[in-house]
């Protein structure tokens, strides 16, 4: 495992903003006193006159972003997911979502892998909140390559986009030479016939590892990378439900309102099959080392494999 290169997607976010700053002249970046942590500080250094710190005032930051977008700029408003989606929700809904303004929200430190900062900063509700806003696109990249592609796709898309990034360094699983990103199009990373692991964000890599474990035990698991939670790739998911008869969703988010809910809603209407949700089970996180927390909350390959084995035995009963 020592040759696996790891990088936090917040790092990728900062690098992508700098790389795309030259290409997109109307790209501006806002932050709320977290530029060092969200990595927008890289953009501030490269393009100081296109960066505005709003101070610890996320509601106003979203209002400023709305005003900039209404006048033709492409603002990235950045903060931790907890504050970008949570604290500023009403402004995001009414001032950005309702007029369908071209604001990009760069939300870092999502999920419990925030680690030591603890429950108040471990946002496992942001996808649920953003999903309910009509017209909001939600991107949750799995690694460095996908995160960078997601940032450019968000810029090219006309309308509000919520981009979710993590604090923890995660393995780079995609090949930058061949990787292609399309909003709303999931990626089948592994074919399988017995069940499907539907994963998003850092859980994609865990799902791939779980599929290896399952293969060793004779269970053929398909793995889907759902980098776009909304609009959901309902065709890919319905086909997986039809062809494998059982889905296990894997996300670093509450099992309420996130990928698990979206997938369950999709298959309930298209091809009802059992859906098991691996995620944060309606509880708060707590302070601790990120990797230990992920294991503790079952957000790891071992637990995905265990849930999948159980699901497979129930399927064949």
């Amino acid at each position: 495992m020592s040759d696996v290169i790891k990088k936090a997607t917040r790092e990728s976010y900062g690098e992508a903003l700098v790389a795309l700053g030259e290409k997109y002249e109307n790209l501006v970046v806002l932050d709320a006193d977290l530029a060092a942590a969200t990595k927008t500080g890289m953009f501030r250094k490269a393009f100081p006159d296109r960066f505005y710190d709003c101070g610890i005032a996320e509601a106003n930051m979203m209002g400023v972003a709305a005003g900039l977008a209404a006048t033709g700029m492409i603002p990235f408003a950045s903060s931790f997911a907890m504050f970008a989606a949570g604290r500023a929700f009403e402004i995001v809904r009414n001032s950005i979502g309702y007029p369908h303004l071209n604001v990009k929200i760069g939300a870092t430190h999502a999920g419990i892998s925030v680690g030591e900062d603890g429950a108040t900063h471990q946002c496992c509700e942001d996808i649920a909140l953003m999903r309910t806003i009509p017209g909001m696109v939600i991107l949750n990249p799995a690694d460095d390559v996908e995160a960078k592609a997601a940032v450019e796709a968000a810029i090219q898309y006309q309308g509000p986009v919520y981009c979710r990034f993590g604090r923890l360094a995660v393995p780079i699983i995609n090949d930058p030479e061949t990787y292609q990103f399309e909003i709303g199009k999931g990626i089948a990373l592994r074919e399988g016939t017995d069940l499907t692991l539907v994963a998003t964000g850092l859980m994609v890599n865990e799902a791939l590892q779980a599929a290896e474990v399952l293969a060793a035990e004779g269970i053929s698991a398909r793995v889907l990378n759902i980098h776009t939670i909304k609009p959901l790739d309902t065709e890919l998911i319905a086909a997986a439900a039809r062809e494998t008869g059982c889905l296990i969703t894997c996300e670093e988010h509450s099992i309420i309102g996130g990928l698990g809910s979206a997938v369950a809603e999709c298959v309930a209407e298209s091809c009802p099959v059992p859906v098991y949700r691996v995620g944060v089970k309606d509880t708060y996180g707590y302070s601790g080392p990120a990797v230990a927390l992920l294991k503790e909350f079952g957000l790891c390959a071992e637990n995905i494999a265990a849930v999948a084995k159980d699901a497979f035995s129930k399927k064949n009963r």
Binding site: C54, A57, A59, N60, V64, L68, T71, G72, M73
Partner: protein, 153 residues
């Protein structure tokens, strides 16, 4: 939008209207701090200070007073104005146009329902529409006042 004008070297001016009750909202002061920090002298906020909000008098619900001192403390140039006096309105906006380096707050003292006997200063008319009979009475009072004023010219 005012920041965007500065950013893109556009010369338009942004006017925004606030209620006095609305000043209880934290976002207003986040924006006030931001506008002063970035020296947005192309921004004028007009605060309609009629003293009434849905639940009653602003001073009894949760007072935002002293409003003028608060905006001044946040780094704004503050102008007070009588919202029912056209000469005073003109004076206030002329003054606002001349201010550079900081945003301007025009605190307009007004009377809710001015000129309609049964509406004046009545909190119940904050968010309700008149029925046909009330509408006709209100229009009759306003029309009579307009005729009186026109006779003076």
């Amino acid at each position: 939008m005012a920041l965007s004008a500065k950013h893109r070297n556009e010369n338009y001016h942004v006017y925004t209207i606030l209620g006095d009750g609305e000043l209880q909202e934290g976002q207003v002061w986040e924006a006030a701090m931001f506008a002063a920090h970035y020296g947005l002298d192309n921004l004028t906020a007009i605060v309609d200070n009629n003293g009434l909000q849905i639940d009653g008098k602003i001073t009894e619900v949760c007072s935002p007073e002293p409003i003028t001192d608060k905006f001044a403390a946040f780094g704004w140039h503050v102008i007070t104005m009588n919202a029912h006096d056209f000469d005073d309105i003109e004076r206030a906006f002329r003054e606002a146009e001349r201010i550079t380096g900081q945003p301007v707050a025009i605190i307009q003292r007004s009377t809710k329902g001015k000129g309609v006997s049964f509406m004046e200063n009545q909190v119940g008319w904050h968010g309700t529409a008149p029925n046909q009979e009330q509408y006709e009475q209100a229009m009759a009072e306003l029309t009579a006042e307009l005729k009186r004023l026109e006779a003076l010219v």
